[in-house]
Every structure is written in C-alpha cells, then in structure tokens.
C-alpha cells in the first residue's frame, strides 16, 4: 500500500511555511468557515421564508417593519453589524450571569448571529421578488379551484417562487461564503484567520493568502456547480 504520510512528509520537506502545523490551521479554518456559512445560511433561510411572505403582504403595518429590517441590514456593511453584535452583547447589563453567556462568550456565536441576520435580510428580498413574480394565471387557477389563501401559498406560490429564486439564492450563498472572511476580525480562526496567522508569523503574504484564495476559489466553484445542478433538475420544465 502506498504510504500517504511518507509521501506527504516528503512533499513538505524543506518547506518552512507549509508545515503539518500550519496546514492544520488551514484545515481547522476550513471547518470553521464551513460551519459558520452553512449554519447561518440554514438559519437565515428558515427566518427568510415567513418574512418574505409578510413582506409581500398588502397590509403596510406588516410589510413595512420587514422592509425596514431588510433596508438596514442590506444598507450597512456586515462588518459594522458584526462589531455591533460582538461588542454590543457584552454591554447588556448582567449578560455575563445569564445562561446565554457561555454561548455568547465564544466569538463563533455572535458571528453566527450577525451572519444569519444579514443573509436573512438578503434572502427575504430575493424571495419577495420571486413571490411577486408569480404568474397571475397560476393564482387565478388556484382561486378557481377554491383554494384558501394559505393553501395557495403552500401549494402554488411558494414552490414556484423557490424555483425562480434559485439562481439569485445561489449568488447569495457565494456572497455569504466570501463575506464570512471577516469573521477573523473578531478572533475567529476561520480560513482567512488561519491565513492571517500564517502571514503574521512568517511574513509570507503570497504563500499565506494565495493558498487560502485557492481554497475559497474551489469552494466557490463547488457551490456554483451544485446550484447549476439544482437548477437543471428543478427548472427543467422551464426549458424549451
């Protein structure tokens, strides 16, 4: 059997920067980035669906607060949102003594909250656009069948809106992956954090950042292909 570890050590021999140690940092960074992005996307998606429905409501007092939320979160830099949440929670009186503190103490969770709120705002607007674009004929057909508005939302509007939203949502996923790079600002050792560490330790910007750029590029392509595949499957009926 081919001994992989020997091969690996040979590959690394004479290399002062990419030692097993630093590669370990990159690996941990990859894990952190993936967790952070995946969890915030899932949570953001769950929040965004009801918000998008409310945002499409005809009643101003339902849709306006949601619009305010998406406007603020889409109009300000994620970095500021992260700072406000990371430094802000600390100054809520007595937070250190509550059961929430063990969670908020870690940099991971404030970052996760900021990312979730951010992606939820963008996703809400994406879905709203898709809901708005539902073909009038489909709605009329549903009405003619005597569907209640609730049933119509569940069976007709949402399924077709999800499909329409897919390409835009794919972009949002990639955007989130890239935006997550700022997690390193609040001490998280994500991929970018690992690169900054390696850079600061060895003064080797090209090695540290090109390597991590290549990893991000691969991740981006993976997401891209995944969504292409999904689109092909789910939007097949739209092709001529």
């Amino acid at each position: 059997m081919l001994d992989i570890s020997t091969w690996f050590n040979d590959l690394l021999a004479g290399n002062t920067i990419f030692t097993a140690d630093t590669l370990g940092y990159y690996w941990e960074g990859l894990v952190t980035t993936t967790q952070l992005v995946f969890l915030s996307l899932v949570a953001g998606l769950i929040i965004a669906v009801p918000l998008a429905i409310m945002r499409s409501s005809k009643h101003k007092w339902i849709s306006l607060p949601i619009y305010f939320y998406t406007y603020v979160f889409r109009g300000t830099p994620l970095l500021i949102q992260l700072y406000i949440i990371y430094y802000g929670v600390v100054f809520i009186d007595g937070i250190q003594d509550t059961f929430l503190w063990p969670v908020l103490r870690e940099a991971f969770y404030p970052a996760l909250i900021a990312f979730t709120l951010n992606t939820a705002a963008y996703t809400t607007e994406i879905f709203r656009g898709a809901i708005k674009a539902t073909a009038q004929g489909e709605i009329e057909a549903a009405r003619a069948y005597g569907m209640s508005p609730r049933l119509m939302m569940r069976r007709i509007i949402l399924p077709s809106a999800f499909r329409r939203a897919l390409p835009a949502y794919g972009n949002e996923v990639i955007f989130m992956l890239h935006a997550s790079a700022i997690a390193s600002v609040v001490t998280l050792m994500d991929l970018t954090g690992a690169a900054r560490f390696v850079y600061a330790r060895y003064y080797a910007p090209f090695e540290a950042f090109l390597f991590v750029a290549a990893i991000y590029l691969c991740l981006t392509f993976a997401i891209l292909f995944f969504f292409r595949y999904l689109e092909k499957k789910l939007l097949a009926h739209l092709n001529p």
Binding site: G75, T76, P77, I80, Y87, F91, A179, F209, Y216, T220
Partner: protein, 233 residues
C-alpha cells in the same frame, strides 16, 4: 444629541476617507470594467481569455483576502522590483504603496470584474442597427463609441452600476481591517477606548444608510436622463 466624547471630528474625517475611497474606486472600477467588457467582446482570443480569467478569479475569492493579498503582497512585490534596481543598477527610487492607494487599487480591481459583466450585458443590449447607421454616416469608430454606443449602453448599465456601487460602498468598510482610518476604524477604535460600542457604531451605520439613500436618488435622476427618448420606462 449623542455625546461622541471628542471623537466627532475624527469620525467626520473618517467619513471623508470612506467617500473618497468609494468614489475613486468606482472610477477605477468603471475604467477597468469598460476595458474588460471590450476585451470580452473582442475578436482577439488572448484578450477574451485574459478577461475571463480576471473576472472568474476575482469573483471567486473574498474581497478581504484579495485586499490583504494586494496590500501586504503588493508591497513586497513592489519592493522586490525597487531592491533589484538598487542592487543591480544603483537606482534608488521607492514606490510608496500607501494604504489609501492600496485600498483604491484593490476595490477598483475587484469591482472592475463585476462592472465588466454589467457593461458587457449593456453593450450587447445596444441595437446593432444603430451602430451600423452611425458607420453609414461616416462616423469614426471612436465617434460611434462616444455618440452612440456609450450613451445607449449607459441606459442599460445604470441599474447594474447602481447595484455595484451599493456593494462597493459597503466593501470600503473592509479597509479598516488593513489599517486605513475610515469611519469604521475610527468608530471601532472609539468603542474600544470608551467601552461604548453603540455610541459610535450606530451613527456610522446610519451614515452608510444616508450615503446609500443619497446615491439611490442620484442614480434615479441619472436613469431618467438616460431614458430620454425611450418613453421613460
């Protein structure tokens, strides 16, 4: 009013840096975007390939990573050249790659890729017949570009342009991480020193919303102008 604890003037200075940075990067991005769009539509295989590689690579990597690569790495690259000149030819020049220039170059470079896509789509939306008509009038190709392609292209490009500008504006916040004193950095510094993050971060967030709203209004007016003669869609 909020008590900014003496940080007011520095915050305003920081806001100035943010705006200058954003506007200069936008100009650079537009120039690069036009070049990229032109290259992508050119008949030359090499130009097309280069432009594709540029837009793909840039759009596949986080802004912050590119910024650090260009800011930290760019300096070392530039040094290597000037050191080479010094040791081999005794020419002693230095190229000052300051944080501001690095910020403008990086952001311009990143958004040049996005602008390239916007402009390419917009150029393709211009009716070919119009260009042929221009040629038939004996216009030179640069005149055709200036009088026909560019103004019509802008009409189609404006929505994308406005969108890119909004994203670009927010991206400028990242320069605070590489050490440029924009308003985010001043606010973060002040929050740490005073232990009052909300006092400084929220006004800065509002400032971003304000700049975004003003630019939205400007873009709406521009759109109206470029829509003249198209029934104001």
């Amino acid at each position: 009013m909020i008590d900014l604890q003496g940080y007011g003037p520095r915050l305003i200075e920081g806001a100035g840096v943010t705006i200058q940075l954003a506007v200069l990067s936008l100009i650079l991005a537009i120039i690069l975007g036009l070049l990229t769009a032109t290259a992508k539509m050119s008949r030359n295989w090499f130009l097309r390939r280069t432009a594709t590689v540029y837009t793909t690579l840039i759009r596949g990597v986080p802004d912050l990573v590119l910024m650090m690569l260009l800011f930290f790495g760019g300096q070392i690259g530039v040094n290597a050249i000037s050191d080479m000149l010094y040791y081999n030819y005794d020419i002693d020049i230095y190229i000052n790659f300051n944080a501001f220039a690095a910020g403008v170059l990086t952001i311009g470079f990143i958004f040049g890729a996005y602008m390239g896509e916007t402009f390419r789509g917009a150029f393709m939306a211009v009716d070919n017949g119009q260009i042929e008509a221009g040629k038939a009038y004996g216009m030179s190709s640069s005149l055709v570009f200036r009088r026909i392609r560019f103004p019509q292209m802008m009409r189609h490009a404006l929505p994308g342009l406005s969108n890119n500008w909004m994203v670009l504006l927010k991206t400028t916040a990242l320069v605070s991480v590489i050490g440029l004193t924009d308003m985010v950095r001043v606010a973060a510094e002040a929050s740490r020193a005073t232990h009052e993050p909300f006092t400084f971060l929220i006004p800065v967030a509002v400032a971003y919303l304000l700049i975004a709203s003003v630019s939205e209004w400007i873009f709406a007016r521009l759109q109206k102008r470029y829509d003249i003669g198209f029934g104001g869609q």
